[in-house]
């Protein structure tokens, strides 16, 4: 009898948990957040994602609600989400405010540092009952970053300039995830006095005298990265050009604050220190 009651209670508990998780309808407003949700095995709870959510491949089959900068409010509401997750300073505030006003639970994450990534993963894990998985993800990411840092710690730090746009010439400045990525990969950002993504004059960029120029490459933008590379070609006075150290890097790996951030850092560290950090 006691055993029957216990199994009935167990069944009831299981049903309750599955009903609870089935009721969660998540919308991700950025590709990195989509990647994190998938890494936490929350794919069934995702009802829609932002455009360019191309990893993992299955994410491309999900419904989209527009880009992270201009998502469609009507489309978001149409999917009747219970939780929306967004990146701070990416999606316009007035839109997030409207979503909050319509009673949807909104989780907003800062993504300027690896600590922000750990916090985001843990918070998402806690919210959706995936604490163990979240902890495992964080541990493996931390270990990966720790290993890379150990390899590059005593090496000379090259001055790295990351150019993300040609028109206007836009670079990676301080207080950005990519700035932190340069540090983690054993380099030093050539831009020290500008925050965010400054649009610097070419002359001002030349004065930075970078040892390495990196160009994040995203699918479909191959022409742009070639144009950026050829815009530097004649500047032999710049060490990066003189020593042929202008590289493209996987933009999705290095610019996304998600579980693949470690892979991105490993890739960047290899470009910065090819002899010490193997692919």
């Amino acid at each position: 009898m006691c055993l029957k009651i216990r199994s009935l209670l167990y069944l009831f508990f299981l049903c309750a948990v599955s009903t609870l998780s089935a009721t969660e309808r998540i919308i991700s407003l950025a590709p990195d957040l989509t990647e994190t949700l998938y890494a936490l095995s929350l794919q069934d709870e995702i009802v829609a994602v932002s455009e360019f959510s191309n990893f993992p491949k299955e994410a491309q089959k999900k419904q989209t609600i527009g880009t992270f900068m201009a998502p469609s409010l009507e489309k978001i509401l149409y999917f009747k989400p219970t939780v929306i997750i967004a990146k701070r300073h990416a999606t316009p505030q007035h839109l997030l405010q409207k979503l909050r006003q319509s009673g949807i639970h909104l989780l907003e994450f800062k993504t300027q540092h690896e600590i922000d990534i750990f916090e985001m993963i843990l918070q998402l894990g806690k919210k959706f009952g995936k604490e163990q998985k979240a902890k495992r993800l964080c541990t493996s990411l931390k270990e990966m970053l720790f290993t890379i840092q150990n390899r590059v710690r005593n090496l000379e730090k090259p001055r790295v300039l990351i150019q993300i746009e040609l028109v206007p010439p836009m670079f990676v400045g301080k207080q950005t995830l990519l700035d932190r990525a340069i540090e983690l990969a054993g380099g030093m950002n050539a831009i020290q006095h500008h925050k965010g993504y400054p649009k610097l004059q070419k002359e001002a960029a030349l004065q930075l005298n970078p040892d390495i120029i990196l160009i994040p490459l995203t699918k479909g933008d191959e022409n742009k990265s070639q144009d950026i590379q050829s815009s530097w070609k004649s500047w032999v006075s710049v060490p990066a050009v003189r020593h042929h150290r202008i590289f493209t890097m996987d933009g999705d790996l290095t610019t996304r604050a998600g579980p693949r951030f470690g892979e991105g850092i490993a890739h960047m560290a290899h470009l910065l220190h090819p002899t010490s950090v193997k692919k």
């Binding site: 360019f52 880009t67 992270f68 900068m69 201009a70 993300i164 746009e165 040609l166 028109v167 206007p168 010439p169 836009m170 400054p198 649009k199 610097l200 004059q201 070419k202 002359e203 001002a204 030349l206 004065q207 479909g220 933008d221 022409n223 742009k224 070639q226 144009d227 815009s231 004649s234 500047w235 006075s237």
Partner: protein
């Protein structure tokens, strides 16, 4: 042609000022480089690969927009007219926007932009020829409505663009001199510009006659509509050339013709060259100021309006005060 000694003195002093601005424009930037070091291997690249294309573009854009604005103000008999009033510039913007959306890269974006504006010019010309009995109002209204149409299409392109692509497109639309256009292409553009300008200058007597009333022009045996059409095409070509190279640099085409008229009178035979030189001087100087004050790449189109509007108001109030 009016070539009095006063006119020659004016042109010579403006020419001198133009050369002075040109050399200063090459010398001043993030760092001062003396003209003595222009061919120094250390600074050669900065001068000839960065500053020279900018100065060249400023000459083309400043000169062409000023002359184009001046012609539009005469043929439309409207002091508020500027080169962007008709749809040609809007079409050039749409071509550029499509170029950005299709990831064409430079200098293909410039080509597409120029071709679109030529197509639009053909449409406006066709409409104005069909309504040959009407006055400049049909031309003006056709252009203005096409302008609205193109601007809405450009906005649509902006909303379809990817995040960073949208930023680039917006920056291009706001106008500037920093776009990576190959120097040979700039020389070809300068050649086209001088060809068009010399043609306009040779026909400046006819442009002068458009200042008169329709009856007076007819009495002089001039076909006003035909002349108007010719100058509309010439001014639009100047505008199309500029917008496809630099985006929309506003205010120069409105301010410079008024400034020249204020200083030297309203005879096209006298002030066409003045207009070209003042436009070029103004744009080189503005770019120089912006380049020196900020290490950032600023949208020059916004800066010209910001600096030009107060100056224009000052001139207007000074002129209208008793």
């Amino acid at each position: 042609m009016i070539r009095t000694s006063k006119w020659i003195a004016e042109i010579s002093s403006l020419g001198f000022l133009f050369l002075l601005t040109l050399f200063t424009g090459l010398s001043i930037g993030v760092e001062w480089i003396s003209p003595v070091h222009f061919w120094d291997p250390l600074f050669k690249n900065i001068i000839w690969d960065i500053r020279w294309p900018r100065v060249l573009l400023a000459i083309i854009a400043g000169g062409a927009l000023s002359v184009s604005g001046y012609i539009f103000q005469i043929i439309l008999k409207n002091p508020l007219a500027d080169p962007f009033i008709l749809g040609v510039s809007g079409a050039a913007c749409l071509g550029g926007a499509l170029g950005f959306l299709l990831h064409l890269g430079y200098p293909l974006i410039t080509f597409v932009s120029f071709l679109t504006s030529l197509l639009c010019l053909g449409v406006i010309d066709f409409v104005s020829r069909k309504h040959v009995s009407t006055t400049s109002h049909v031309l003006l209204l056709t252009g203005v409505f096409l302008s609205f149409l193109f601007s809405s299409l450009v906005t649509l392109c902006l909303s379809f663009s990817e995040p960073f692509e949208g930023t680039s497109l917006l920056f291009w639309l706001m106008g500037g001199l920093s776009f990576p256009i190959p120097t040979p292409m700039l020389w070809i553009s300068l050649g086209i510009l001088f060809f068009l300008l010399s043609f306009i200058y040779r026909k400046s007597y006819h442009l002068h006659l458009l200042n008169l009333s329709a009856i007076e022009t007819q009495a002089l045996g001039i076909d006003a509509l035909k002349t108007q059409r010719l100058f509309f095409i010439l001014a639009s070509l100047l505008c199309a050339l500029t917008v496809s190279l630099t985006g929309m640099i506003g205010f120069v085409g409105l301010l410079v013709p008024h400034l020249c008229r204020f200083l030297w009178g309203n005879d096209p035979r006298r002030i066409l060259i003045h207009c070209f030189l003042v436009g070029a001087i103004l744009l080189i100087s503005m770019d120089m100021v912006v380049r020196t004050l900020f290490p950032y790449e600023m949208p020059l189109g916004a800066m010209t309006a910001l600096l030009g509007a107060p100056f224009f108001l000052f001139l207007l109030w000074k002129r209208s005060s008793p």
